[in-house]
């Protein structure tokens, strides 16, 4: 299956950087997410995860490195986490890492994502990133 590579841009809207690699299962969502049509942007990402979990069935490592996401994007992030949780429930290997920048509020929101989806999320300070 194909990989997804989207280069992030900061213009009238903010497009996040996306790197989903089907050969390694390593997926990155980084930068800023504030989009004209949020669901339309995230739909191909949902479809990629569905195809990967239906056909490749390999491990998935999700690295979130978002410096800003609006509330509309946060709904789509929860959708992604829901899909990952379902994959895990069905025996899939899932690791989720959330890189944060000295932000208590962001940590609270990540804790809320865990409460909403039941998915464990590793919280990693950006300063610890190698």
């Amino acid at each position: 299956m194909d990989n997804i590579h989207i280069k992030g841009v900061h213009e009238a809207y903010f497009v996040p950087t996306v790197n989903f690699d089907a050969s390694t299962g390593i997926c990155e969502l980084a930068g800023e997410s504030y989009l004209e049509e949020t669901t339309k942007f995230y739909q191909p990402l949902f479809e990629w995860i569905k195809e990967y979990t239906d056909t490749v069935k390999g491990p998935l490592i999700f690295n979130f490195k978002l410096s800003y996401f609006n509330t509309s994007s946060s709904k789509c992030l929860v959708d992604i986490l829901d899909m990952l949780k379902n994959y895990q429930k069905n025996g899939g290997s899932v690791t989720v890492n959330w890189y944060y920048d000295d932000s208590d509020e962001e940590l609270e929101e990540v804790e809320d994502f865990t409460l909403e989806t039941g998915l464990e999320i590793n919280k990693i300070p950006i300063s610890d990133e190698d």
Binding site: A12, T38, N70, T71, S74, K75, D101, D104
Partner: protein
Amino acid sequence: MEKKNNKYDFSLFDSHNLLNQNILVSYKGPIDERIMTVIGDNIVLVANDTNDKARTKIFKVFMELAQNVWLYSSETCKLENGKSVGMGSLVIGEFGNYYTFVTGNVVKNADIVPVIDKCEMINSLDRESLREYRREQRRLAQSGKPNSGNIGLIQVALTAESPLDIELTPVNDDESFFSIAVKISKNCTKK
């Protein structure tokens, strides 16, 4: 010196003085994605008497509240690309150890009651309850409903760590001017 009002219907000098020295930025006019980005990218620059955490908060609060003006103001303006966008005002002021961020726009009286109820409910909740409320609303928003700005107001209260100070001033029989102000501490610990 006698004030001349022959050129304009209003005095820009008076308006300037009304926006006293505590006001760092003020804007009135149409708000769309381009204007939001220009103001959003620069609004944090004026808050130079603070730390990164407060600046991040100002940006996040701006993004949610300005979007509400754009989408929900009943006073609209047609741009050159044919799109109709909301008109409104925003102000950021500096008062001692905090910033105040205010947005305001005209609303239809019939539409504003649920928004006021929502703000009052948000103000009645402590932080943990507010987080729980955001989780609930995000779940509801996923079931195919359009984004109604509901989570946005909860997010603003959580980010600012302050209540939503709302004010409704009638402008005619059907419409009122609705404003939301939040305080953002310069010494905030949460980003």
